[in-house]
């Protein structure tokens, strides 16, 4: 099995085409190299290493966007004071990914492309209305992140294409929150997660580990936008069920996931939404 090492985007795209259908890009390798000694024997390959492509490196702030090059790591954002200041849910989410050794290598683009329902970077980006910029040999595209998943591990991107950048609007949020209920406090896969923002664009509630893909909870967003009163955590569940379908797996149960998501969202929202919670202010846990 081979790892190819292109120096430019066109070269990478050519290698991906030549190696199709098995060729795959590789960035921080934190997903691809897990259990590698066993995986490498079953993988047809080749891998196309993006790490030497300068055009994909780094992140920059434009007038109205934060642009994450495809090689931008979690650590890049954790250590950017501006990100902490302006878009705090990004560094907050990044700090919950694995531990430092993963944060220094894992990329935001890899998190999107890997398409795990438990991805932690994706909900934070989606709650900020991020867009994904992709490129193929002869064309490029820009797709809203919340339209990027077509189903479990299915991307709205042509085979042989890569993600080149992620565009995050520099929109002021008057509320943002990132919730991760993991298997432990660090090095944890999310069992229940959500990113919530409120801005001029309205409410965004994005859940991970609650459906085959990371997903917006549109019914709840709509209820929040309209100010519909919600008295208890349990009253959130029917709204969440319209968009989410958690499952039982080796890490948790569907019942736990739904119950807990309702509870954490309720207690995040109650202090900032007058229409959420009991009138007495003494809310059920």
């Amino acid at each position: 099995m081979k790892i190819l090492t292109p120096n430019s985007i066109p070269e990478a795209l050519r290698m991906l085409k030549d190696g199709s259908p098995d060729a795959r890009p590789i960035a921080g390798a934190t997903d691809l190299l897990v259990h590698w000694p066993d995986q490498r024997t079953s993988h047809a390959g080749p891998f196309v290493d993006l790490s030497r492509i300068d055009a994909l490196r780094g992140h920059r702030w434009t007038e109205d966007e934060l642009v994450l090059g495809a090689l931008t790591t979690y650590w890049d954002i954790i250590t950017d004071p501006r990100a902490n200041d302006e878009l705090p849910i990004l560094p907050r989410a990044a700090r919950t990914v694995g531990a430092v050794q993963i944060q220094t290598r894992g990329t935001w683009a890899g998190n999107i492309a890997n398409a795990s329902p438990a991805a932690d970077g994706v909900p934070a980006l989606m709650a900020l209305d991020a867009e994904v910029e992709t490129a193929g040999e002869n064309d490029t595209a820009r797709v809203p992140l919340d339209a990027f998943y077509l189903g479990y591990k299915q991307l709205n991107m042509q085979p042989g294409w890569i993600i080149t950048a992620i565009h995050v609007p520099r929109r002021r949020c008057d509320f943002s929150s990132f919730i991760k209920v993991g298997t432990r406090n660090a090095q944890a896969i999310t069992k229940v997660g959500a990113a919530v923002t409120h801005s001029d664009a309205g409410w965004r509630v994005v859940a991970n580990s609650m459906a085959p893909t990371v997903r917006r909870c549109r019914a709840l967003e709509d209820a929040l936008d309209r100010g519909i009163s919600i008295a208890s955590p349990d009253a959130l569940i029917p709204l969440l069920e319209q968009d989410l379908a958690p499952i039982d797996d080796i890490r948790s149960t569907a019942a736990y996931r739904m119950n807990v998501l309702a509870r954490v969202l309720f207690h995040e929202l109650a202090p900032v939404c007058p229409f959420i919670g009991t009138t007495s202010g003494r809310n059920a846990p």
Binding site: P37, D38, R263, H267, R282
Partner: protein, 734 residues
């Protein structure tokens, strides 16, 4: 005594310690294991795929075993390699070796073991269906009872009877270094070197199945990256596999398990189910204890009977009660065999016992600490096996010290106010009083008859020769210091021989918290004997000893002076294996633990806010090492209590990855408060008692009791994962 630093500490910190996987053995091939895909059945066929040139490989199956196809341990029921029948998933069937590890990985997938499956017994808690019975009438492989007084009658007369059922799950050791072993033949001797706790267990297994005498087998411990019991019994299996491959290949072969194989295929802590029925008077005094403990014995006997034994002996807790009936059963199932794990049955039974004490307290409306104070064994009273405790330790003071250091009373007041006002966080405090017998149970130490030598070397140093192994617990440091102190030498003048069966006598296994207390004592005795050999008087120290060594070699240049020691039972110990009565252990270490937790009612997660331990362990030989044993044990037990769940599917561990089997990280635990009380044990090295296992016993019940305090529910099953706590609270509400 001031803590001297760890002998091999700098080598470990600098990455210079060479574990078995780090050794470059010339000409070495890699070995790998093909295993049963199902929990029970008859092997119909073994297919070797056509895509592999098998002539490049060495392939071993049961027909290659020179001696009996048995892993010698307590019983001889476990085959080295399954021949016709498999009794658990992942049971080893075929071994292969090849110069390339990658080729081994590919080839192993090209072997198919075809088994006609039979109904497997996979739940030890329920009686087996007729088609699941594989041993005796009911699959019970070990049955033990302890009787004191008349529990039945006392229960009839008791004003209050309180019952409870408690369950604990399997636990994976997760020693950071996976199992690994290399083997080769050298001048007609088979040499096996690897990660292990007990070189002589491995030696005995090898001589038996390879049909060789002890002279033609040599076992050498490599630096070992953690054991916790997981490298007590299992290394015999992998050593046999490596040896069989090496013999057939005619060259060295190394087997290193990767993490997934290690987690899925090696032993774990026995799951247990414990029932309590207790008679108490209105003051909460224990009148009768009726206890039934059942453990999952897994597919082969391994160490289950002795785990059960230690489990039931500790089941009654450190309390005085005149009428006790304890019944223990180990049940055969088709689970991957369970084995030794720090605590050895006692954590399971004391989880139940200490949870039950809280249930009694709550039922009677007595403060849990006060209930314990009233019942803790006083000197002159007896344990459940009728062992009279007379060591002068004030066990009530142990408890009260823990409560004081944990600030428990103040915290509880604050927490009550906090709980009344916080929307979703609830705090609580729980305690547990525990004890742990040091050394082998009953007459075990007498049967072991452990030996140890201290030799004087021509360069003037003394060398301790022992089969006790350094597995992280600090043996090298402790033994060096004991010998240096005994002989009045600088520690640089003491060296510890490699644990190599060709050079060291059998000091018994490195288990059961016996290293410092039992074997450490032998270091002292052997030092004394060395003095005698050198013709010194019994108090000679320092310069007198080195001078005597110099003199010795001047007069007998080719005879090495050796001091020898063998275990002698301290006077006045009586144990009856038939009735399970008497002095189960030479001595017990005593402890009280206090946990403060915070439960998040949104997520049902339990966070340990503070943890205080107080233990009376005889004598602290080295403060840093002792603290490390306690803190490490507590954190391992916090994992068992809250996080570590083996998920079983058809008898196999479905979460055999570190991503999915969750042990605590630094961010999951608070600093652990460690406080020692000393009451020297006259028959332990410098007064030491056992320490290694004690910290595994108390944290789980203390934490569960704290959750009960915080929420008013009774968490009787661990691990208390958020999912399990949610279920419990849903039922409590319904």
């Amino acid at each position: 005594m001031a803590a001297s630093t760890r002998i091999e500490g700098i080598d470990k910190l600098a990455g210079r310690e060479r574990y078995i996987d780090d050794l470059d053995i010339p000409g070495c091939w890699w070995g790998m294991t093909k295993r049963s895909p199902v929990p029970r059945g008859t092997i119909r066929e073994i297919r070797f795929g056509p895509g592999v040139d098998w002539s490049e490989f060495v392939v071993v199956d049961h027909r290659d075993i020179p001696g009996p196809n048995q892993v010698r341990l307590i019983e001889l029921d476990q085959p080295v390699l399954a021949s016709e029948y498999v009794r658990h998933v992942h049971e080893p069937v075929v071994l292969i070796a090849h110069p390339s590890r990658a080729m081994c990985r590919r080839a192993i997938r090209e072997i198919e073991i075809i088994v006609d499956p039979e109904p497997a017994a996979l739940d030890f808690r329920v009686p087996p269906a007729p088609e699941q019975i594989q041993h005796g009438p009911d699959n019970v492989l070990s049955h033990l009872t302890i009787t004191k007084g008349d529990a039945e009658r006392a229960l009839r007369d008791a004003p209050h009877i309180i019952e409870g059922v408690y369950e604990t799950g399997a636990q994976e050791h997760v020693y950071l270094e996976t199992q690994g072993m290399a083997a080769w033949e050298e001048d007609g001797t088979i040499v096996v070197k690897g990660s292990m706790q007990c070189p002589y267990y491995v030696l005995n297994a090898l001589t038996h199945a390879l049909a060789r005498d002890e002279k033609h087998v040599r076992v050498v411990q490599a630096p070992t990256g953690g054991g916790f019991g997981g490298k007590e019994d299992f290394p015999s299996v992998i050593a046999l596999h490596a040896a069989l491959l090496a013999l057939k290949a005619g060259r060295p072969v190394k087997i290193i398990y990767d993490r997934a194989e290690d987690m899925a295929c090696t032993t774990k802590r026995h799951p247990a189910l414990v029932r309590h029925r207790t008679g108490v008077d209105s003051d909460g005094r224990l009148l009768a204890q009726q206890i039934e403990m059942t453990i999952d014995g897994g597919a082969y006997v391994t160490l289950s009977p002795v785990v059960l034994s230690r489990g039931i002996i500790h089941a009654g807790g450190p309390y005085a009660c005149d009428n006790v009936s304890i019944v223990g059963r180990a049940v055969f199932t088709n689970a991957v065999p369970f084995g030794a794990f720090r605590g050895f049955g006692a954590p399971q039974s004391q989880f139940a016992g200490e949870r039950h004490m809280d249930r009694i307290a709550r039922t009677l409306g007595i403060d849990p600490a006060e209930l314990r104070r009233r019942n803790l064994i006083r000197d002159g009273q007896t344990t459940s096996t009728s062992q009279t405790i007379n060591d002068g330790t004030d066990r009530v003071a142990v408890l009260d010290t823990a409560i004081r250091l944990a600030d428990a009373e103040k915290n509880q007041q604050e927490d009550r106010a906090f709980n009344a006002s916080h929307p979703y966080l609830r705090r609580g405090t729980g305690i547990a009083c525990i004890y742990h017998g040091g050394g082998f149970t009953g007459s075990g130490e007498v049967h072991l008859a452990s030996r140890l030598h201290v030799a004087a070397l021509p360069d003037g140093r003394v060398e301790v020769r022992t089969a006790t192994t350094e597995i992280g617990q600090g043996m090298l440091t402790i033994f060096t210091d004991i010998a240096a102190d005994r002989l009045g030498l600088d520690r640089s003048r003491v060296t510890i021989a490699d644990a190599d069966t060709a050079r060291v006598p059998n000091s018994g296994p490195t288990v059961a918290s016996r290293t410092a207390m039992v074997v450490g004592k032998l270091v002292e005795d052997a030092c004394d004997d060395l003095r005698r050999t050198l013709g010194l008087d019994p108090v000679a120290r320092g310069g007198a000893v080195t001078d005597a060594i110099d003199n010795w070699y001047r007069t007998h240049p080719d005879r090495e002076p050796v001091g020898r020691a063998q275990y002698r039972q301290p006077p006045g110990i009586h144990w009856d294996d038939e009735t399970y009565r008497g002095d189960a252990y030479g001595t017990f270490a005593w402890a009280a633990y206090a946990a403060r937790v915070e439960v998040d009612l949104r997520t049902f997660q339990t966070r340990v806010l503070g943890f205080q331990t107080v233990q009376e362990i005889g004598k602290v030989l080295n403060e840093t090492l002792a603290r490390g044993q306690i803190a490490g044990g507590v954190v391992q037990a916090i994992g068992w209590a809250l996080l570590e769940e083996c998920v079983w599917r058809d008898g196999a561990m479905a979460n055999a990855q570190l991503t999915n089997y969750i042990i605590p990280t630094a961010a999951d635990v608070p600093p652990i408060g460690v406080h020692f009380l000393e009451n020297p044990y006259p028959h332990g090295a410098r007064g030491a008692k056992g320490i290694g296992e004690l910290p595994m016993d108390g944290p789980a019940p203390a934490i569960a009791n704290a959750v009960a305090d915080a929420l008013g529910v009774e968490p009787d099953t661990i691990p208390l994962t958020p999912e399990r706590l949610m279920e419990l609270m849903t039922h409590a509400r319904a």
